[in-house]
C-alpha cells in the first residue's frame, strides 16, 4: 500500500473537511496538474465511459451493459497514485472480460504520454469520497499465519475467488468477471477496500457482486473486513 504525497495531501484535506481541489489549498504545482488533468480528461471525452459524480445511481439491469468503464468519482480514494500514473501511460487489463460484459478480452483504452498521465493522475487523485475515513486498515505486511487466515476469509467464509482471480499458493486462480487481485497491492488503497466491502452498492450499484450476510453466509466481522482489506492490498504488492 504505497502512500504518495499528493494522495496523502488530498486525503488530509478531506479529513479536514475541505475540498481537495479548493483553490489556494493545493500547492500551485499540484493545483496546475489537477486543472491541466481535468482539461485533458474533458478533451479526450473520458466521461463518456467513466461516471464522475457519485454516489452512482442504480440503473435498470437492461441498461447496465451500456456502461463501458468503472466510475471514477472516488478514484483518489481507491487507487495508489504510482500505479495509476503507470497504468495511464500503459493501460493493461484489470479484469479478464470486457467491462460490463461476459466476453473474454479487454477494452481498448487510450494511452497517455508521461506528461498527460501526470496531470490526469493528479486530477483523478484529487477525486476522493468525502465520506470515507482514512487510516482504518493497517499498512503492514501480513505474517504467514495471518495471511493463511485471511485467505480463508477470501475463499471460504465468502467465496470472493468465484469472480476475482488471486495469486494462491497454486498459482493465479479465480473467476473472470470481477477485477483481478493478482496485483491488488499495487493498485488499491486498503482503506477504500475496507469501505467498499461494507457497502459495494455505494460504489458499484450496477455491478454483479452479491451481498453476503444472512442465514447461509455469515457477514464478515469488522476485524475480518479490515484483515481482508489488508490481505487484498498485499497481493502482488512486490510485483510477483
Amino acid at each position: 500500500m504505497k502512500r504518495t504525497k499528493l494522495f496523502g495531501l488530498a486525503k488530509g484535506l478531506i479529513g479536514a473537511g475541505m475540498l481537495a481541489v479548493a483553490g489556494g489549498v493545493l500547492s500551485p504545482a499540484a493545483l496546475a496538474g489537477v486543472t491541466e488533468g481535468k482539461q485533458i480528461f474533458d478533451a479526450k471525452a473520458c466521461e463518456n465511459c467513466h461516471q464522475m459524480t457519485g454516489p452512482s445511481e442504480p440503473l435498470p439491469v437492461a441498461q447496465r451493459s451500456k456502461i463501458k468503464g468503472p466510475p471514477l468519482w472516488f478514484a483518489g480514494s481507491k487507487f495508489n497514485e504510482d500505479w495509476l500514473l503507470t497504468w495511464l501511460e500503459s493501460p493493461t487489463p484489470i479484469r479478464r472480460v470486457k467491462y460490463g460484459t461476459l466476453v473474454k478480452g479487454a477494452n481498448d483504452h487510450v494511452a497517455l504520454s508521461t506528461a498527460e498521465a501526470a496531470d490526469v493522475g493528479a486530477y483523478l487523485m484529487s477525486l476522493v469520497d468525502a465520506e470515507m475515513s482514512i487510516d482504518e486498515v493497517v499498512d503492514e505486511p501480513l505474517s504467514r499465519r495471518v495471511e493463511f487466515k485471511a485467505e480463508k476469509l477470501f475463499t471460504k467464509k465468502q467465496v470472493c475467488f468465484g469472480c476475482h482471480e488471486y495469486p494462491s499458493s497454486r498459482g493465479n486462480i479465480g473467476g473472470f468477471t470481477g477485477p483481478s487481485f493478482t496485483t491488488g497491492g499495487q493498485r488499491l488503497n486498503g482503506d477504500w477496500v475496507y469501505f467498499m466491502l461494507q457497502d459495494n452498492a455505494r460504489y458499484y450499484p450496477n455491478g454483479r457482486m452479491p451481498v453476503y450476510g444472512d442465514e447461509a453466509f455469515e457477514a464478515y466481522t469488522d476485524d475480518e473486513l479490515r484483515l481482508l482489506a489488508q490481505y487484498i492490498t498485499s497481493l502482488g504488492e512486490d510485483g510477483e
Partner: protein, 124 residues
Amino acid sequence: MKTKYNLAIATLSSLSFLAQTTPGFAATPKENFDWYCAQCHGVDGTGNGINSVDELPVGPMNLTAAKEMSKFTGPMIIKTLTHGGPVNTLDSLMPPWGNRLSTDEIEGLMNYVRALCKEDGCPK
C-alpha cells in the same frame, strides 16, 4: 466521521433497494438471469459461464439437466437463490442474491430456471 458515513450508507442502501424494486426498475427474469446467473451458469444455463474455470473446486450446476434439477422443488430453488448454496447443502460458490433482488424477482428467476430444464424427467 465514521458515524456520518454509516448513516449515509444506511440511507443510500435503502434508496438503492427501493430503486431496484420500484416498478419500472424491476428487471425481467431473463434480464436478471443474464446479468447475475449467466456469469457462472452460462446464458443457456448449462453451467458453462465465463466464471466456470477448472481451478475452482466445484463447477456451476447444469440447470438444463433433469438429473440435477429433479432434486429441487420450487421452494428449494427460491431458498437457494435467496440465501446461497449452503442453505441447501450445495457449494458455497453459489452466492446469495436475496440482498440484491426483490422476492418477486427471485420468484421470477425460479420460474425462469425451471423453464430452462426441458429434458424428460425435468420437474414441471
